[in-house]
Symmetry: C2
Subunit: 217 residues, 2 copies
């Protein structure tokens, strides 16, 4: 899964247990549905006690959506590394590159995850929108980049909108079974947003709309 080179046996085993729990949770919920699977069953499938499950995940849902916190930090660091003169949308798009790569690298896991998550809107919201802390951090990072007052409204709007774009791209990616590259789908969504979401059916200037937005495949 994720890199686990420079770690002692102890931490390696922890990662292993965590992954086993997440995998068991995804498999069982995909088979039976969220409320037809108990934490006890998940723990059993991963060969640990039910109590131990809660040493790894605060809630049953957390085992399904995966480790969002780690990704967040990476995105924030990537965003800080983008030169300040890059426009906001492009900067965020490039900051997301690392996460996108990881998702496409673990395609099987993520397709299963999306399949599960898409059947439970509560989970879907948590997958991208994550927690308020993260979103707040993104807003502040963006405000710092563009020299805005964080209360301004603009940074918050950009973060919310790009989050929505990411969400729809991932849903589309999963719906198509991963046949189209997630990076492409995300580029398309960002291009459409940058163009102001023109109606592809009645473009003001036929050549000026975002390329590919209305292509089905």
């Amino acid at each position: 899964m994720t890199r686990d080179e420079g770690l002692g046996r102890r931490d390696r085993k922890k990662r292993q247990t965590r992954a086993a729990l997440a995998a068991a949770a995804l498999r069982l919920v995909a088979e039976r549905g969220l409320d037809q699977v108990t934490v006890e069953e998940i723990a059993e499938a991963a060969d640990v006690s039910a109590r131990t499950f809660f040493n790894y995940f605060a809630t049953k849902d957390d085992a399904l959506v995966g480790d969002t916190a780690g990704d967040r930090d990476r995105v924030l660091r990537a965003l800080a590394a983008v030169p300040a003169q890059v426009p906001a949308l492009a900067a965020i798009r490039s900051a997301l590159a690392g996460v996108i790569d990881e998702v496409e690298g673990d395609a099987a896991l993520w397709l299963l995850r999306m399949q599960v998550v898409m059947q439970h809107p509560m989970l879907l919201a948590r997958l991208v929108s994550g927690n308020a802390t993260t979103e707040q951090a993104m807003v502040e990072a963006l405000a710092a980049r563009t020299g805005h007052d964080p209360d301004d409204g603009y940074p918050a709007l950009v973060v919310a909108v790009t989050g929505a774009a990411l969400r729809t791209a991932m849903v589309r990616w999963a719906t198509g079974g991963g046949s189209r590259s997630l990076a492409d789908l995300l580029d398309e969504a960002f291009a459409a947003v940058a163009a102001g979401l023109p109606d592809p059916r009645t473009p003001d200037r036929p050549g000026a709309t975002a390329p590919g937005v209305h292509r089905t495949r």
Copy 2:
């Protein structure tokens, strides 16, 4: 609250009980925090049994976010009423007018609601994003309007992005204590989206950016 003219005493009392439960829930949670308030306490404050609470709301959260289903239907009907040649963004903006009016009409209730909801991202996501059914319905309605294949991606992107815009507008509205009109804030957000979220600090063409997006108040 909402109109209750042509109803017998029975339904009037039901509405009353429902409103009392929601109000009690909001007040108590605002005072103490979500997990410091039990359903039993909410029910007690509304002078009904705990079991009765669940006859009105499926979950504790539902008492806090209010009746989303009713609003949805209204938005969908309003969207269907907008002439098909109106561009997607403008159509959605005008379909939201009814809900906006209702929110501003009950400003005190909604400001309290937002105050509570903003402290629990789980609730915030549910407030606008609602359930998948609604979002799906919006996507289909939009696809029908624009003559798109619903799997196209464009309608889903527009619905997700406008939802994000609505969410940020409501947060801003509540953060400002309702000092700026919600309709204004929403117009601003939609204008920024329609303009492709230009960075207000370095606009391509100074006069062409969305008006007011970077004004603090």
